[in-house]
Amino acid sequence: MKILVCISKTPDTTAKIAFADNNTKFVQEGVQWIINPYDEWYALVRAIELKEKDPSTIIHLITVGAADTEPIIRKALALGGDEAIRVNADSHDSFYIASQIAEIAKQGGYDLIFTGKETIDYNGSSIGGMVAELLDQPYVSLATKFELNGTTATINREIEGGEETCEVNVPVVVSCQKGMAEQRIPNMKGIMGARTKPLKVAEPVAVDALTSVASFELPPAKAGVKLVDAENVGELVRLLHEEAKVI
């Protein structure tokens, strides 16, 4: 079994979001970068678990990013995985990124491609589906559970108001969310080992970006909370009914 795990770099969840240059650039000063939580906690850890069960499993990590993504991919290698590939390109267009991943995937002949549910900065939830289409493979989105039996995967995925279980033969692309695995902390052995794992750099293939950011905008600040006394709960219900008109 050969697995490709897609890893992206995102600002830490508590990072201050601010923009400069007429709201066209995200301010990176002081921002701490992390592995996108869905990629780390669910996609990568589940792949590692599959390798623990079947040691012949090969795990490759891929990131599409400039040289400054290398600390992130090393961090991911410290958790597990055999080698990493960085496609040397800096883009936020989902189709551009997906095309680069699909290109590497074609060369590598992977049975499984795992992505996270979405990046917590651009929130596209798109790249897995695009990769699947580019490879003409099935796509199971928002998976909460993944089991492998030979070449057949049994996957639970979220549907509105519940879950469904499905079966599909590899190759398949899966986007991973909560439920797939539990977060792990890298240990010293992993961190030391990651230093010597191969990190290959590939040049991107030429692809046109389909979208681009024109500008950013911060939401308007809230007017401030209207506090109601705990002894006067009826007043809150009245306000919600008459003023906010929500109940």
Binding site: T13, T14, I17, F19, Y38, W41, S94, F95, I120, Y122, N123, G124, S125, S126, G128, G129, M130, V131, A132, P138, Y139, S141, L142, E158, I159, E160, G161, G162, E163, E164, T165, C166, E167, V168, V172, Q177, K178, G179, L210, T211, S212, V213, A214, S215, F216, E217, L218, P219, K222, K226, L227, V228, V233, G234, L236, V237, L240, A244, V246, I247
Partner: protein, 321 residues
């Protein structure tokens, strides 16, 4: 040139999020001076022609039962075929679970720029720019779509449904449907409850509720006002509530008209999933809880005192004993 709206259905019924998509698509078509048409996959029990009240004139119906279950590959091919045959230049979907599975595939297949999670109509003065949430609802981006064919998936509950008069012409669409590669073996749905992603009102509980045994009052209050229930990650992690109720950065992202948070501190990762809610109400015994900064209404008090009183007041309001 036309706008094609994908109508999503489940268990024989058109989803509420599709009414929003239809309204959005119809308004966009008007803005572009073109026709709004729709595509429906699979068979439904609902009156399809009646969906014309949201402003679509024609509905392409692929009444093939294989499509009663969402299959990203089959849906993509069917929608793309209808789009090509009908000369659509914009495709509109809901950014719900089906949309997340299908829209990206469509984008890659048609080489059409996708804006995933749009929150407003495009600005078409001189270009095609669509606003969407980024940084987990902490900001918005205005996205240029640079391709002739465009795809927009709209964030659920961020666009007001408008229903008028009118019926749509329903035409059978000729599309070949292969057999699905993904076989669905079981579905496990909570019945009789509004799915969280579609709920207009949400009552949510955090660790302040102390344990799963105390959720009775949360469910009672939610039931009284017709709300769905949600929870913080701490609560789902402790297995007090099912995973699908967890909202926030790593859980569901929702934008209901009312989000009532009980015993939730309001950590930034929690807010990321709920801060697009129209009205936020916080009940927390700590006046310093960060959630109050994001709230519209609040009570500083003990949930075990306030919530039962609230239930009694809502009962009074609704005239139930």
């Amino acid at each position: 040139m036309s706008v094609l709206i994908f109508i999503d259905s489940a268990d024989g019924h058109v989803k509420k999020s599709s009414f929003e998509a239809l309204t959005y698509g119809a308004q966009l078509a008007k803005q572009l001076g073109t026709a709004a048409e729709a595509v429906l996959l699979g068979t439904v029990a609902d009156d399809v022609a009646a969906l014309g009240k949201y402003g679509v004139t024609k509905i392409h119906h692929v009444a093939n039962e294989t499509l009663n279950h969402v299959d990203a590959q089959l849906y993509t091919k069917a929608i793309a075929d209808v789009a090509t045959a009908s000369g659509a230049t914009v495709i509109v979907l809901s950014h719900n679970l089906t949309g997340k599975a299908v829209a990206p595939r469509l984008s890659a297949r048609l080489k059409a720029g996708l804006v995933a999670g749009a929150v407003g109509l495009p600005n078409t003065a001189g270009g095609f720019v669509v606003k969407k949430g980024v940084f987990s609802s902490k900001a918005f981006a205005h996205m240029n779509v640079n391709t002739a064919m465009k795809i927009i998936s709209i964030s659920p509950n961020s666009f007001q449904t408008v229903a008028g008069e009118g019926t749509a012409e329903v035409v059978a669409a000729q599309v070949t449907v292969d057999s699905p590669k993904v076989k669905i073996t079981a579905t496990n749905k909570v019945t009789g409850q509004v799915p969280l992603s579609e709920a207009e009102l949400v009552v949510s509980g955090g660790r302040g509720l102390k344990g799963p045994e105390n959720w009775g009052m949360v469910e009672e209050l939610a039931g009284l006002i017709g709300a769905a229930t949600a929870c913080s990650r701490a609560v789902a992690d402790a297995h007090w509530r099912p995973h699908h109720e967890h909202v926030g950065q790593t859980g569901g992202s929702i934008a209901p008209n009312l989000y009532l948070a009980i015993g939730i501190s309001g950590a930034i990762q929690h807010l990321a999933g709920v801060n697009r809610s129209k009205v936020i109400v916080v009940i927390n015994k700590d006046p310093e809880a960060p959630f109050f900064k994001a709230a519209d209404y609040g009570i500083v008090g003990d949930a075990f005192d306030v919530v039962p009183k609230m239930i009694a007041e809502v009962k009074k309001l609704k005239g139930v004993a």
